[in-house]
């Protein structure tokens, strides 16, 4: 059984301007010891969906949440606030993007770690909790943990603070770790250290990981499966190799072609995705990506595609109205470095699959 199973999750916020459909029917599963990468631009709903798993959007007041989130067989949407508080930081832990604002500046690192333990296990003595805090600081690679446990957050660099956050997240041996852009604020050298650490912990402690990021390089390094989100929905879902070698959705193609890569010849033209991410209040009609899609056909502005398995595959889902053979041919041209217009001219577009 999957450790985390999210089914048709919807999170809508009522605002003065209208209903913001931040998450609009998202489903995914994560098994023990596996890492899922959720990729998307700002406003694609990737953070809101994971905050909802943590039970952090239920207090928003204007949030309308539906669907189901099964964690270890329990429905988290039906759980009481008390139960969620018990789970949070214990069975499910989260690392945020900004390590400075996530630590309290007034309290010593050690005291904050001890609090994280004793909030969940009242019978642990302060001395034992402190020993555990020192052990965790050592595990995440803080030098001289016995001395540094008494330091204040401002005495640590950004990378070290992020390690403290990871130590705090892992201190109660969570079954699931949600990392929301954990390395975005860090230098590449520190990012490499943190990714290495997350990967090691995943394998050693069998923790399941949900990694939210916009960086395709990061997901290629640490995750097993990838969900690509656009406008509050998952538009493509597959294992990592498939997403990079045989992607099926034009948005995924766009993402892959728009980043400069160290392992491709220099001087290759970048192909930006035209336009900008859509409004979540007035979602475009039909396929939400159609205003930016170079391969759009008239029918796509009317029909809303469902996330369905790619023909002949059980582990690769895509929400696209193009015919499978057309998609395949288009990607062959794009992967060879052709511009989208040329690919479109070269491939007979046929009738769209409905």
């Amino acid at each position: 059984m999957a450790l985390l199973e999210v089914r048709d999750l919807k999170v809508h916020f009522k605002t003065d301007d209208g209903i913001v459909k931040a998450v609009d029917g998202v489903s995914y599963t994560v098994d023990r010891g596996r890492a899922l990468g959720i990729v998307g631009e700002s406003g694609s709903g990737k953070s809101v969906s994971s905050l909802t798993v943590m039970g952090l959007t239920r207090f928003a007041g204007n949030a309308d949440i539906s669907g189901s989130i099964l964690f270890d067989g329990r429905d988290l949407l039906a759980a009481s606030d008390e139960d969620m508080r018990e789970l949070r930081g214990n069975d499910i832990a989260m690392i945020f993007q900004d390590p400075l604002s996530s630590l309290h500046p007034f309290y010593r690192i050690g005291d904050q770690l001890v609090e994280a333990i004793r909030a969940h296990k009242e019978d642990v003595s302060k001395a034992a909790a402190r020993d555990r805090a020192i052990e965790m600081l050592g595990l995440v690679g803080i030098p001289e943990p016995r001395r540094r446990v008494d330091a204040y957050p401002h005495e640590f660099s950004g990378g070290m603070r992020q390690r403290v956050m990871i130590a705090m997240a892992l201190i109660n041996d969570p079954k699931l770790l949600i990392a929301d852009e954990p390395t975005t604020a860090l230098d590449v050298t520190v990012q490499a250290q943190i990714l290495d650490l997350i990967e090691r912990l995943q394998h050693e402690l069998d923790t399941a990981i949900v990694m939210i990021t916009h960086d395709l390089g990061v997901v290629a390094e640490v995750t097993d499966d990838i969900a690509v989100m656009y406008a509050g929905r998952v538009v493509e879902y597959a294992d990592k190799e498939t997403i990079f070698v045989g992607p099926e959705h034009p948005y995924t193609w766009g993402l892959l072609r728009s980043i400069p890569r160290l392992d491709s010849p220099r001087g290759e033209e970048l192909v930006p995705i035209d336009g900008r991410p859509p409004s979540l209040i007035t979602r475009p009609s039909g396929c939400a990506f159609h205003p930016r899609c170079p391969f759009v056909r008239e029918a796509h502005t009317r029909i809303d595609p469902k996330l369905e398995p790619v023909a002949g595959r059980t582990d690769h889902d895509v929400a696209c109205l193009l015919a499978p053979q057309t998609r395949n041919d288009l990607w062959q041209h794009l992967a060879a470095g052709e511009a989208p217009e040329r690919a479109r001219a070269a491939v007979p577009m046929g009738e769209s699959a409905e």
């Binding site: 660099s157 990378g159 520190v190 250290q193 916009h214 400069p260 160290l262 220099r266 970048l270 060879a336």
Partner: protein, 359 residues
């Protein structure tokens, strides 16, 4: 007169090799002062510590390094937004390191900056037309109202903004469009040099490529010299002709972009390249990641001799006692290192060592 004539004759070839900026032993220290009771200087942050390089006319010159390495300070010294502690900066043959405040203003026509954050670098209470036209107002150009509007709308068209949006405010634009406004403002005075400090790091991935392509096209069309600062090494490789790597206020390696990324010589450069996550699962699985231990040491009290020796896996005794000089190494890189990387060591760790040939 005769010099100018020869320059005209040789045309493009000479313009390529021509030096626009010459930086020699540039130093910037920020003093650390005590409280108001003890006004004495307690120490100094050695932000830029003896940097020497040339920027050629018409090239894109990249500066990379971890945060705190002095790349932004170097850029601000070149722009004369900061006063250098010592050293020399020659711009177009003229010494600018010691210009007085009133002498700097005409210099600004020649050099402009694009900033990182397209949200805080535009005044929210001004229309886009006023923002882009401000350089004209400051320098007394295009004084006629219709004339200025026409000039601004031309600029908007150049950077891919709709000229009809002249009267809109910054909040009505997306991040990528705001960065275009910043680019248009920088282009207004037809400068020779543009310094772009992390111009795309605040933008979404799909928008990044739009702004990068714009900068590259403009640079080619207008023959601009571009100094490009970014922490994203893939972006720097994509944009730059030559790249300098900085560590703790010093340049530790400088080379042609292709050479630097395929054959870095300084172990620090190698570690930076090796740390970049690559969007290719197969390569990510086989590549050996060279992790650097610890953090960058404090620039108030940098390590003696080679500053990188505290984190370097190739360091030996001499690295702790004798400072390596920037000198040519195998392959044409200029690097400051006693034990440069061998090709075999590079091939194992660096994803850009053998870029796949595209079909």
């Amino acid at each position: 007169m005769s010099v100018d004539a020869t320059r005209q004759d040789t045309g493009q070839a000479a313009a390529q090799g021509d030096t626009l900026i010459e930086v020699r032993d540039l130093v910037k220290e920020f003093p650390i002062k005590g409280s108001y009771l003890v006004r004495r200087q307690l120490g100094a942050v050695h932000a830029v510590d003896g940097v020497t390089f040339d920027v050629r006319r018409g090239e894109t010159f990249g500066l990379v390094g971890e945060s705190g390495c002095g790349k932004s300070t170097t850029a601000r010294l070149l722009m004369r937004l900061l006063q250098p502690t010592s050293g020399s900066v020659r711009f177009d043959g003229r010494e600018i390191a010691n210009l007085k405040a009133n002498e700097i203003k005409p210099l600004r026509r020649e050099m402009q900056m694009i900033f990182q954050d397209p949200y805080s670098s535009l005044n929210p209470r001004r229309t886009v037309g006023t923002i882009i036209g401000e350089p004209f107002a400051i320098h007394g150009m295009h004084e006629g109202k219709g004339d200025r509007k026409r000039a601004v709308q031309e600029l908007m068209d150049t950077v891919g903004l709709n000229p009809e949006h002249y009267n809109r405010y910054p909040h009505e634009f997306s991040g990528g469009q705001r960065q275009r406004i910043g680019v248009a403002r920088a282009l207004a005075l037809k400068p020779q040099l543009i310094v772009a400090d992390e111009p795309v790091s605040a933008l979404d991935v799909s928008i990044q490529a739009q702004v990068l392509n714009l900068l590259r096209d403009l640079q080619r069309e207008l023959g601009l010299t571009l100094i490009f600062i970014a922490h994203d090494l893939s972006v720097v490789r994509h944009m730059c002709d030559r790249v300098a790597v900085m560590y703790l206020g010093k340049i530790v390696e400088l080379a042609e972009s292709d050479q630097l990324y395929s054959h870095p010589r300084m172990p620090y450069t190698g570690a930076l390249m090796s740390a970049v996550p690559v969007a290719d699962p197969e390569l990510a699985a086989t590549k050996k990641r060279q992790l650097l231990a610890g953090d960058v040491p404090s620039p108030t009290n940098p390590p003696p001799a080679c500053r990188f020796h505290t984190r370097c896996w190739k360091a030996q005794e001499i690295c702790r006692t004798e400072e390596p000089q920037l000198e040519p190494k195998e392959g044409g890189n200029i690097a400051a290192c006693h034990f440069p990387l061998t090709d075999a060591e590079v091939a194992e760790r660096v994803p850009s060592a053998h870029p796949q040939e595209s079909a």
